[in-house]
């Protein structure tokens, strides 16, 4: 049996990678894909914990997380499209008029 901690550490590693993606990539779509990575890391924790705790609530949670992920993706991508249509770019460098 793989200890639960292994799953959690894997999740943490994925979470960190996702975070790095958010921090480093300038392309908004890439940033959003990194967010998906984060959500996957979370799902991994929920699923593994659910199994180890012999409790299905975690898996139900994953269901909702996936739903939310879909919704967020929809909204986010809509925003990206709107932005691109109007200004022709989806570079985060473009989004720096608000500052201070």
């Amino acid at each position: 049996m793989v200890p639960l901690d292994h799953y959690l550490v894997l999740a943490m590693i994925l979470f960190c990678i996702g975070t790095l993606g958010i921090v480093l990539r300038r392309n908004i779509i890439m940033v959003m894909m990194s967010i998906e990575l984060l959500l996957n890391a979370i799902n991994l924790v929920f699923v593994s914990a659910s199994t180890y705790n012999q409790n299905l609530d975690g898996q139900v949670m994953v269901f909702f997380v996936i739903t939310v992920a879909a919704c967020e993706a929809a909204i986010g991508l809509a925003m990206v499209i709107a932005l691109f249509r109007k200004y022709g770019t989806i570079d985060t460098q473009f989004l720096r008029t608000l500052r201070g």
Binding site: N40, V60, C71
Partner: protein, 195 residues
């Protein structure tokens, strides 16, 4: 034994794919790696006897969400220079890597051999099997204990749809576009006096 080996292989693959996701120059490539990643994770879920989740991971996540990404990437057809550049300057990157690394170290430091307690209300896998398997058990939970959030999820999706439609729809009144400029010029007029 075998389980552990499989886990490590999958874990390695997942990490590798994730790294490729964030490091690929082309978003499409990234998306492909993301799909791979999701599949691998689905494998892990399956190995954890969470078949239902593994299934929706593939169907919904991979089938819908990532495809949506790919679709949008295609739609936008980005110029190459916008695909690859990094969001931070070099010193910042070093700093960030350091931060994230230390974050990881801290996390790993935190790990100890404490075993988690089981607050399980469901019982061992046999109980799940008795209920008719994982999918049915999850379904039952979803529709009894979590019926309220489940219903709410519909509103969530509805809200997302409305939002997405509102965002993506073309501006019905193009005149409005100039509104901001108008306001700006209004102020300038006030400052410099009208000609």
């Amino acid at each position: 034994m075998g389980q552990i080996t499989i886990f490590y292989i999958l874990a390695f693959l997942a990490t590798a794919c994730s790294l490729l996701v964030i490091s690929s120059k082309n978003p499409v490539t990234s998306a492909i790696y993301l799909v791979c990643d999701l599949f691998i994770l689905a494998g892990i879920y399956a190995s954890l006897q969470a078949e239902f989740v593994a299934a929706i991971q593939i169907i919904v996540y991979t089938g819908a969400v990532v495809v949506l990404f790919v679709f949008v990437i295609m739609l936008l057809n980005l110029a190459p220079n916008e695909q690859s550049s990094l969001g931070l300057k070099l010193p910042d990157i070093g700093f960030t890597l350091l931060t994230v690394l230390s974050f990881l170290i801290v996390t790993v430091l935190l790990v100890n051999e404490q075993s988690s307690v089981s607050g399980g209300a469901l019982g061992p896998p046999e109980a799940i099997a008795q209920l008719g398997g994982n999918t049915r058990a999850v379904g039952m939970t979803l529709f009894t204990k979590f019926v309220w959030p489940f219903e709410l999820a519909s509103f969530l999706i509805l809200a997302a749809i409305i939002g997405a439609v509102h965002i993506a729809k073309k501006d019905p009144k193009p005149a409005d576009k100039a509104y901001g400029n108008l306001k700006a010029s209004n102020r300038e007029k006030a400052i410099y006096g009208s000609p």
